[in-house]
């Protein structure tokens, strides 16, 4: 029988792994660069969410605020992205500065237990994930995957040829914003699972690795999911047996997988 902490950690990893499927779509859209900006926003959202919950205990899960912050940042950055790399560089600094300020200022007003809740978003410990956390992750992941499945064709057409999609009457602005919104939800899920600092590895690396391995879209989705899952499970195992932080072990496992695939592929060439 598995330890309940390990079981919850495994479930957390499964939910986080679904995020890599949507990251693959974001990679194909050519906007994977928004991921770091959006993940920073998760920290600011968590700080505000926990603050509200501290003073209004009946307030729903602070994770809702994390998602809202991520969605707002994602849609905003996607608009700014049209301003080119300089605008994106500025946005990266802005999102980090605002989030760090919110985190530092709000944290100082919080009681100790609430400080730990906010710190959990910086570097999360999967082994301490609660049942209510798992429920939030399950709802958010399911929502993102359902939206992606429903509008898969629309998202794919935007990724492939936005101009023709618009010319033939697709509301590209609406679907593009929807794509950025679900990608933001997945960033929030991963930030909750492994923490903001390491979320980028689980969002970018599986998608990037899948590209090396296959040229079929369907297989890219499956491969990136499996790479995220293997990284997550491998990370939990490493953490359990070597007594190292789970998030760091997951990130390392994904980096090792990427490096192995890269080396093998280049050796073949």
């Amino acid at each position: 029988m598995l330890d309940p902490f390990i079981l919850k950690a495994i479930l957390g990893v499964v939910f986080a792994s679904f995020s890599s499927v949507i990251s693959t779509l974001i990679l194909l859209r050519g906007v994977l660069y928004i991921t770091p900006e959006v993940s920073h926003a998760a920290l600011g959202g968590a700080a505000i969410g926990v603050l509200i919950q501290t003073f209004l205990p009946w307030f729903v899960d602070p994770f809702l605020f994390v998602i809202l912050f991520c969605i707002a940042t994602s849609v905003f950055v996607s608009r700014m992205g049209k301003g080119g790399p300089q605008a994106l560089g500025v946005m990266l600094s802005v999102s980090l500065a605002v989030s760090v300020m919110l985190y530092a200022v709000i944290r100082s007003y919080l009681p100790i237990d609430k400080r730990l809740a906010v710190d959990g978003y910086l570097v999360s410990d999967l082994l301490l994930i609660s049942n209510s956390d798992l429920l939030s992750l399950a709802i958010a992941s399911t929502l993102a995957i359902v939206v992606m499945t429903l509008f898969y064709r629309e998202f794919l057409y935007i990724c492939f040829d936005l101009e023709t999609a618009e010319a033939l009457g697709l509301r590209v602005g609406l679907y593009d914003s929807l794509l950025f919104a679900i990608s933001a939800i997945t960033v929030a899920v991963v930030a909750k699972t492994v923490g903001v600092l390491l979320s980028v590895t689980l969002l970018i690396i599986p998608a990037a690795t899948s590209r090396f391995l296959t040229h079929s879209i369907g297989r890219m989705f499956i491969t990136s999911f499996l790479i995220a899952l293997i990284s997550g499970l491998g990370g939990i195992a490493l953490s359990f047996y070597l007594n190292v932080p789970t998030s760091g072990a997951i990130a390392l496992a994904s980096i090792v997988l990427f490096a192995s695939v890269y080396l093998v592929k280049n050796r073949r060439i």
């Binding site: 050519g30 064709r153 492939f160 040829d161 010319a167 009457g169 296959t214 040229h215 890219m220």
Partner: protein, 252 residues
């Protein structure tokens, strides 16, 4: 199109553009970089709105009856507008032209597959149904994109610089496609940066440089005096019974 002017931001990109097409023809739109050729195309599709003038395509106002119009129009974008990073199969690319015109959930029917295969067959690309689009040559990719535009049997075909960057063999194959399309009596609006190689097929040439510099039959338009107003170094040369236009140091 009558007295149409379009602004992008504060810049006027089309100014008092007027022209009319009465019957199915191949119209070639030519002009230097930044002349507003692509904007003209987007105007016909209702994707940009003019601040002055009126536009009618097939008797429809593209800004009010855009959905109706888009069912009748096939569009092929410039090559750099397509993402070759997305690993789609040729079949998926061609079906896109049909499914985008359908309502959600855009389910693929047997008829859709037949239409897509027919369009590919028409362009000599039927054997590539299961091939990866981004692994084809530039000329083959252009033919697949034209098949996508043709799959829904449009009345008008709008093509943006489809000859750009193609080698002579691919250009010749594409010219054959246009010969076939002309025979079928479709109206084709073809935007190109250069006059060659489409010039010989064009029924009308519209030289655009933010406004219509000249519009008419190729024999009237391909006149050095007229073209010098847009391309100061232009020269027209007769070679083997064919008139060529040399724009500065580039052959067109």
């Amino acid at each position: 199109m009558k007295d149409v002017s379009v602004k992008l931001g504060e810049r006027i990109v089309l100014d008092d553009v007027s022209f009319e097409v009465e019957k199915p023809l191949l119209i070639m739109v030519v002009g230097p970089n930044g002349a507003g050729k692509t904007t003209l195309m987007k105007l016909l599709l209702g994707m940009v709105k003019p601040f002055k003038g009126s536009v009618k395509v097939l008797g429809l106002n593209p800004f009010i009856e855009s959905l109706k119009l888009r069912m009748l129009v096939g569009y092929v974008p410039q090559k750099d507008r397509v993402s070759y990073e997305v690993p789609l199969k040729v079949s998926e690319v061609v079906l896109m032209g049909i499914l985008l015109r359908k309502r959600f959930p855009r389910a693929v029917s047997r008829e859709d597959v037949e239409s897509a295969k027919k369009a590919l067959e028409y362009l000599g690309m039927r054997d590539y149904w299961d091939s990866q689009f981004n692994e084809l040559s530039g000329g083959q990719q252009r033919r697949v994109l034209i098949a996508r535009a043709l799959a829904s049997n449009p009345t008008i075909l709008l093509l943006d610089e489809v000859f750009a960057g193609l080698d002579a063999e691919s250009q010749e194959k594409l010219l054959d496609v246009f010969r076939m399309l002309k025979k079928n009596g479709r109206t084709i609006v073809l935007v190109e940066h250069e006059f060659d190689p489409v010039m010989e097929l064009a029924d009308r040439v519209l030289v655009l440089n933010r406004t219509v510099c000249v519009y008419g039959e190729p024999s009237n338009v391909l006149n050095e005096d007229v073209l010098k107003t847009i391309y100061p170094c232009v020269k027209t040369v007769e070679k083997e019974g064919r008139r060529m236009v040399i724009l500065g140091d580039r052959h067109a």
